[in-house]
């Protein structure tokens, strides 16, 4: 299968991105002369520009759109107002996760769902399978490029080239018609870094132009950021990644996302299973941990206690902000209390770690 390129591929070459195969997409893991740590710090301290055009977009429209989307996700979308954005999860009847997504409400008959790149086909098939009469689900992934401008300087930079007062877009709200450098874009104050910032949806033909306008408006305050820092930034902020913290075999409750599961809602797919799991009590849960011994815990490494396997690392990395390795693990609940010592199996050796609480990055996103 040939690799797909985003509309910003030429920009990645121009800025010397180191291109890798990311789930079938040719995307930069980092940029020459920067690297993951510098790019990461740039977003924490100034601003970074990401190409996230590989993300999928689906428009849901029809008279029963609200009812339909509500049935599909386990967060409560009925409390949403027009132009609000909500983080949500789609579950299977058994409670495992189809995908996590952002729900953009235009109005009660029209929603935009933004889904993970690797899951677009699966998600869209799932949406169609559960479609109600008179509804349409339209996969418009190829019709939108997406850029993310993230970091404490993001607003200052974007404001220079926007026709709209960006203060009018609060955290987890959007405006479907902001002109950036004269081009109409959908702009939301959302992101995947733990910093303030924006996600910008634009027609593919305009993507490179907007990319260059943002870099030029930002000057020294902004630089392109690759997938390496995207992962370390989201991880430090404890934002989940599908396929690691959650997947078809990990429920949102187990993945530490119970806040986004509203079981008192009307019926939604997976509700019965999640309700049952909650009532019976979780058998395993997500924990934070820090290393006591030497080494870096990485995704899928086993976690043991007294020689018995009690779970696995969902994500582990050297956290650039803290300059030390930390991790998230899904382990048996009886060992999940903060302060519990656990062993991470690194190359067949048990390395001591300790369950923590509140050791991750405190998000700097604006109040809603």
């Amino acid at each position: 299968m040939s690799l797909k390129q985003t509309p910003l591929y030429q920009m990645h070459l121009k800025y010397n991105g180191k291109i890798i195969d990311f789930g079938g997409w040719e995307l930069p893991v980092q940029y020459e002369g920067m690297g993951v740590i510098k790019e990461h710090n740039m977003v924490r301290e100034q601003a970074g520009l990401f190409d996230v055009s590989h993300m999928g977009e689906v428009f849901i429209s029809g008279e029963k759109a609200e009812e339909y989307v509500q049935n599909l996700v386990c967060n409560n979308i009925k409390t949403m107002q027009d132009l609000q954005v909500l983080y949500a999860l789609m579950c299977y009847p058994g409670g495992g996760v189809v995908d996590d997504l952002l729900v953009y409400r235009y109005h009660r008959q029209k929603y935009l769902l933004v889904i993970n790149a690797a899951n677009v086909e699966k998600d869209f098939a799932w949406m169609q399978e559960n479609l109600m009469d008179g509804m349409t689900a339209e996969n418009v992934s190829a019709e939108y490029a997406q850029l993310a401008l993230q970091g404490p300087k993001a607003q200052e930079i974007l404001q220079k080239i926007s026709d709209t007062d960006l203060n009018s877009i609060k955290f987890f709200w959007f405006n479907p018609a902001v002109k950036i450098a004269g081009v109409e874009c959908i702009v939301s104050r959302t992101g995947y870094t733990g910093e303030d910032g924006f996600e910008i949806y634009v027609k593919p033909a305009d993507a490179a132009y907007i990319w260059e306008e943002i870099l030029s408006a930002g000057g020294d305050l902004v630089s392109p950021v690759g997938l390496g820092a995207r992962d370390s930034l989201r991880f430090e902020s404890k934002l989940p990644l599908y396929g690691q913290e959650i997947d078809q075999d990990i429920t949102p409750l187990e993945g530490g996302l119970g806040f986004f599961v509203k079981l008192d809602n009307d019926d939604f797919i997976g509700r019965d299973a999640l309700l049952k799991q909650k009532e019976a009590g979780l058998k395993r849960k997500q924990v934070e941990f820090s290393m006591l011994g030497k080494g870096i815990a990485r995704s899928h490494y086993d976690v043991c206690k007294d020689g018995v396997c009690i779970g696995h690392v969902t994500t582990g990395l050297h956290a650039p902000t803290f300059k030390k390795p930390i991790g998230l693990a899904l382990i048996d609940i009886e060992h999940s209390a903060p302060g519990t010592e656990i062993d991470i199996m690194i190359r067949d050796k048990a390395v001591k770690a300790v369950v923590g609480q509140g050791i991750f990055y405190k998000k700097k996103t604006k109040a809603k």
Binding site: V36, I37, G228, D231, K294, G295, I296, H318, P325, R347
Partner: protein
């Protein structure tokens, strides 16, 4: 790319500097560049014995875990403990900052390695 003349190289991008019966081992500029920001080095212990092309150390960048294979067989005489606290030294200067010194078991191992010229040509085939 920096490929010093006097060293010998492997196709896995390690270098060895021959000092009498000893060999000082490290990673090449190509290796450090492709790994990116190095954040952890798992060193061997002195006294460990290692065969040629066997795992000698593990080098981790933010994104990747890479094994350093020993360019030659022998016994570990010294390890560069400075790397435990400052693994980024490998990005700063991967030739000044060596990983381990081994006592060579069999000098014929060296015949399988590339000199700077051959290694330069080898790297060119990878780009």
């Amino acid at each position: 790319m920096n490929i010093p003349e006097k060293l010998l190289y492997t196709s896995e991008h390690e270098w060895i500097s021959i000092e009498g019966e000893k060999g000082r081992v490290g990673i090449s500029d190509y290796a450090q560049h492709h790994l990116g920001d190095i954040v952890y080095v798992e060193l061997p212990e002195t006294g460990d014995s290692v065969a040629q092309a066997e795992a000698l150390a593990v080098i981790e960048s933010v994104k990747a875990v890479a094994t350093l294979f020993s360019p030659a067989g022998g016994t570990v005489l010294e390890v560069n403990e400075e790397l435990e606290e400052a693994p980024e030294l490998l990005n700063e200067d991967c030739y000044a900052n060596w990983i381990a010194v081994i006592e060579l078991a069999d000098r014929s191992d060296l015949e399988k390695l590339m000199d700077a010229k051959a290694y330069t040509a080898f790297c060119a085939t990878l780009e």
